[in-house]
């Protein structure tokens, strides 16, 4: 018998599709052990909830409806299954429109599967096995338990992107993170919309001779408000320069031979114009200096004399507000390097005197203030354990101290080329993603492996909910809000580079002061959001200070949280103004000609912009009255932004009739 079912049950299904073969005929089951004779049902489980993608051609379907709130464990990790290879997906919803709840491929012993997740009383869940790897039969067991509490949870969202999807960054100046997929002749951008969702646009380009197989970086080379891209390949780089309204890109193929690894945009000589830095695998590092007229001049040398350069990251380790640089190194010359920015365009190798010249084989390092004591610490993550394991290095001002023992990283043998830090659970302490695990910061320089194990990819906020999401190929892993508060800070330089790359952002709340350095390119391969994201735990208000690369400091007190704010670099240096905490009020909405705008303070004289929902700027003027003439706009929804002299941005939606 095909599915090992009782004969009578088979008879009862005569005339319809075979039980278990598809979603509509899924077999109801409860806790217990069941046998699948073979995976040969006609409906292939979709969407894919388990790791490891598409490729299945058949499925087997069951339903489970709990009688109380439980955790449910679905497992094929049973002695009878030794040597077999299984995968399953768990859904809720209706057949044909299912949503992922859980899934697993290889978490069990060997290639067997196991997942534990929460289920709600009375909800029907679909459990579907597929033949991604094998159609052979097996047993599986459902076990009910007490509900579990995870610090982080992700749900999946399919994004219709294409090409190399290594980049999540704002491409149109609205500070909402977009998804960028590229091929040698196309840039596919999913522009995040103000109201949620994406506008998917393909922009054909002249052929790039280099594609971002090794890394990608984004930054605004010409400070025109639209990010440009750097494709780093195995033989050199191509720059893709955005036009004046971000609707097209000019290809600039460079012929200098570079076996590229990590690439970054950064203002190396602090002239207000972004330069590009590229790690070289087999020769000294290279960089392209922006001459101020947007011509990028090739340079090689000055940052080490050898190859083996894998992961550059630009951070201010000594709080002098000059951006420094650390290179994770690997291969036959694996001693890592930290370069101090002397402030005059030169850099000095400083790692040996700061205990940072370790020879761990590493491709990237995660830099952040893990203990919120006001300086940047580092997790130097191993790519191979041959020269020792991960090093958690605490910044003690005059030196770095290896605090790996007892930190959770000493006993962690997962390796990877990607190591990044973000606050994934918004508790106010930076976590680390790398080595195939999410290491949650306990707040005391120790870390605990999360039971949820996301895969490294570019990160950003893809649904503007204040929690950091991860992109893996065409699937967004959306980080579910957990009640913790947050503040997302986007920067707009006016004297410094437009992106504010190299700026230090400080956020102070009851839990302490957190710092972020704005950087283009961390980890090894991916480009992640340029917005500074801060988890705030239970704190509902914060002070914000921005130290711009220009030396300008803009400060705000008592900023309302749980929102994304934009700070524009203001020449009102040293002036600390209370930030408006209220919203704009618009009248009438919808409007046909005049939009009246009032705010918490006098708005006359302030810069105002009108954007469409893709973030494109439609109108820009200074308010001369409490009203804006919008008669020239075509009908539809828009966003109005008011930019205060101190850089604070308030925005509201309105509709033009």
């Amino acid at each position: 018998m095909k599915h090992g079912l009782p004969f009578l049950l088979l008879l009862s299904c005569a005339g319809s599709a075979m039980a278990q073969d598809d979603c509509a005929n899924a077999l109801p089951i409860t806790a217990g052990t069941y046998n699948v004779a073979a995976i040969n049902g006609t409906e292939v489980p979709s969407p894919i909830c388990a790791p490891n993608g598409t490729g299945a051609t058949a499925g087997e379907w069951y339903t489970y409806t709990p009688t109380a709130d439980h955790s449910l464990t679905v497992t094929t990790d049973l002695p009878t299954n030794a040597g077999l290879d299984t995968r399953f997906h768990v859904y809720h919803g209706n057949c044909g429109a299912l949503s992922c709840v859980a899934g697993d491929d290889d978490s069990g012993s060997g290639l067997l599967s196991v997942a534990t997740f929460n289920v709600d009383q009375g909800v029907t869940y679909y459990i579907a096995f597929d033949n991604r790897w094998s159609s052979a039969g097996f047993d599986f067991t459902l076990i009910e338990g007490n509900p579990i509490v995870n610090a982080v949870n992700f749900t999946t969202l399919s994004i219709p992107t294409s090409g190399t999807t290594s980049c999540v960054v704002d491409m149109n100046g609205d500070h909402l993170d977009d998804v960028v997929g590229v091929t040698s002749t196309n840039i596919n951008i999913n522009y995040q919309l103000v109201g949620g969702g994406f506008n998917n646009v393909n922009i054909p380009t002249v052929q790039a001779t280099n594609t971002p197989s090794w890394s990608i970086a984004a930054g605004d080379i010409d400070n025109n408000g639209y990010n440009d891209l750097l494709y780093a390949s195995g033989s050199g780089v191509s720059f893709m320069r955005a036009n004046a309204n971000g609707t097209g890109y000019t290809t600039e193929n460079r012929t200098d031979y570079i076996f590229c690894q990590r690439s970054n945009f950064v203002d190396i000589n602090n002239d207000g114009h972004l330069d590009a830095f590229v790690c070289h695998d087999v020769a000294p590092n290279c960089y392209y200096l922006n001459d101020g007229n947007n011509v990028l001049l090739f340079n090689q040398g000055g940052f080490g004399t050898t190859g083996g350069n894998y992961g550059s990251i630009w951070i201010d380790y000594d709080n002098d507000h000059q951006i420094d640089m650390f290179i994770a190194k690997c291969g036959s010359d694996p001693v890592n390097q930290l370069y101090h920015n002397n402030g005059n365009g030169t850099f000095t190798l400083i790692s040996p005197s700061l205990n940072m010249a370790d020879n761990v084989q590493t491709w990237s390092s995660a830099w952040g203030d893990f203990d919120n004591d006001g300086d940047m610490d580092a997790l130097v993550g191993a790519s191979s354990l041959g020269n020792g394991g991960h090093k958690l290095m605490r910044n003690d001002g005059t030196t770095f101290t290896n605090v790996s023992p007892g930190s959770g990283f000493d006993a962690f043998n997962g390796t990877s080329i990607e190591w990044i830090t973000r606050d994934f659970d918004n508790d106010g302490y930076l976590d680390v993603l790398g080595g195939g695990k999410l290491m949650l910061n306990n707040g005391d320089m120790t870390f605990t492996q999360s039971t949820v194990t996301p895969t490294n990819g570019p990160t950003g906020d893809l649904n503007n909910d204040g929690f950091v999401d991860i992109l893996n190929g065409g699937t967004a892993y959306l980080n579910e809000p957990n009640g913790n508060h947050f503040l997302t800070v986007g920067l707009e330089g006016t004297i410094s580079n437009r992106n504010g790359i190299g700026a230090r952002v400080e956020v102070t709340s009851a839990l302490g002061t957190q710092i972020r350095d704005i950087r283009s390119g961390d980890g090894f391969r991916y480009m992640s959001s340029l917005n500074a994201h801060f988890g705030l735990g239970a704190d509902e208000t914060a002070d914000v200070v921005v130290h711009w690369p220009s030396g300008i400091v803009n400060a705000f007190t008592n900023v309302a949280v749980d929102t994304a704010i934009t700070i524009v670099e203001s020449t009102a240096t040293g002036v600390v103004e209370p930030a408006p905490t209220d919203a704009l009020r618009l009248f009438p909405v919808p409007t046909s000609n005049i939009l009246y705008i009032t705010g918490p303070t006098e708005l006359r004289g302030d810069l105002v912009k009108v954007l469409d929902l893709t973030g494109r700027e439609i109108l820009r003027t200074y308010l001369t009255a409490d009203a804006l003439d919008v008669a020239s706009l075509t009908a539809g929804p828009y966003v109005v932004q008011v930019i205060y002299p101190n850089g604070r941005v308030l925005q509201e939606r309105f509709v033009k009739e």
Binding site: P51, N52, G53, G55, G83, D85, D105, D106, S109, G110, L111, R132, W133, T209, S213, W214, S233, G234, S235, T255, Y257, F259, H280, D281, V282, A283, G307, C330, G331, S332, D333, P334, Q361, S383, S384, L385, G386, N387, T415, S416, I417, G436, T455, N456, R525
Partner: protein, 367 residues
């Protein structure tokens, strides 16, 4: 281990030499190739020259690559795959000194003045279905150190010019099945050469190891043991062993499958994946002399770099879909492909061979 020696002909070299013997050599060298009789010009202090013709490696029309006196064609049992390019290899040494045998699996110890010459060419290049030589790589030994030069051929095929900056040559070529295929052929920059041609960052040749030379080869004067021919030329000092643990030809289907796989992996992978190579920190050890232990190929060894969590081992016994090695040799994505460089298209026949070997591995990995 068998010590059978394998007959293998030099694809172009033998044909060209045959032409010489039969008197079919073109008698109309182009105006830019006025190479008359005369010896090879190797003036180490002034090398590399700016043009290939200055060395006088070849007689007559240079594109025919008819070797000058003392320029000895040679061939490996299993060659490196280079995007289906044909290759001719030649060696020249000054009189009075030959190479010394070190071990079966180490490059011969060559004397100063040794020159290794390797041409890369395609047949059926479109339009016109013509043969086109793209580059000639030259390695020479001076003051105990190996130096690199690369000569890029002009379209007229009359001269090749020193160029160590690297470039890409897009071309369409008709393959053996008559199908026209595109290749963006990469001519390496100096640093690219050094990526593979090094041991502890010291420049080294890769190919001329006894284990990959020990075969019968066709010469104009008839078939002969290649190492014996080198010895007769004075290019190999006496004292090398007769019994050498040699590779097999990877495409010789009469040979044991695992030996063919190991031979292929040695030639294509082991120059980086050894204790002194570019990828020394990874666990694989692909040298033929090490892969009798198949864990050195990665069988049931977990990867350190997670490209896809579903690829559970470097080689998952019996399962190509979960084997990192299979995916790496079967992709053209340069961030994941193996070898890292020297290949932009998939070597389909070799992938099929290695897939067959993986599928036949038993028992399954236990975790």
């Amino acid at each position: 281990m068998s010590i059978t020696r394998y007959a293998r002909t030099i694809l172009a070299g033998s044909a060209l030499l045959g032409m010489v013997v039969l008197g079919c050599r073109k008698e109309t060298p182009g105006p830019d190739t006025p190479i008359a009789d005369g010896g090879v010009q190797v003036d180490l202090g002034n090398m590399p020259y700016s043009t290939l013709s200055e060395y006088r490696f070849f007689l007559g029309n240079m594109a025919d690559r008819v070797p000058n006196t003392g320029v000895l064609p040679y061939a490996p049992i299993t060659p490196l795959f280079s995007d289906y390019a044909h290759k001719d290899r030649f060696i020249w040494m000054p009189s009075g000194a030959g190479a010394q045998y070190v071990s079966d699996d180490q490059v011969l110890a060559f004397p100063d003045g040794t020159v290794l010459i390797k041409d890369f060419w395609f047949e059926g290049v479109q339009p016109g279905d013509v043969r086109r030589v793209l580059e000639t790589r030259v390695m020479f030994r001076r003051n105990g150190a190996w130096l690199f030069a690369d000569y890029v051929w002009n379209d007229a095929q009359t001269e090749a010019f020193l160029d160590l900056n690297g470039s890409i040559v897009p071309l369409d070529r008709k393959d053996a099945d008559g199908v026209v295929r595109h290749v963006d052929y990469r001519i390496p920059a100096l640093a690219e050469c050094h990526t593979c041609h090094k041991s502890d960052n010291v420049a080294m040749p890769i190919g001329p190891k006894p284990q990959n030379l020990d075969m019968i080869m066709s010469y104009p004067e008839g078939p002969m043991d290649q190492l014996a021919r080198w010895a007769a030329e004075g290019y190999l000092e006496a004292g090398y062993p007769l019994a050498i643990q040699h590779l097999v030809a990877w495409d010789d289907t009469t040979q044991d499958l695992e030996l063919r796989v190991r031979s292929y992996l040695d030639v294509n992978c082991s120059h980086c994946h050894n204790e002194h190579g570019h990828c020394e920190y990874r666990p694989m050890r692909f040298a033929f002399s090490r892969t009798d232990d198949i864990s050195n190929i990665g069988v049931c060894i977990e990867p350190e770099e997670i490209i896809d969590p579903g690829w559970t081992h470097i080689v998952e016994a019996g399962d190509t879909a979960r084997s990192v090695l299979f995916h790496r040799i079967n992709t053209t994505n340069e961030a994941y492909r193996m070898p890292l460089m020297g290949r932009t298209v998939v070597h389909q026949e070799a992938v099929e061979m290695i897939a067959r070997w993986i599928e036949g591995l038993n028992p399954p990995c236990t975790d």
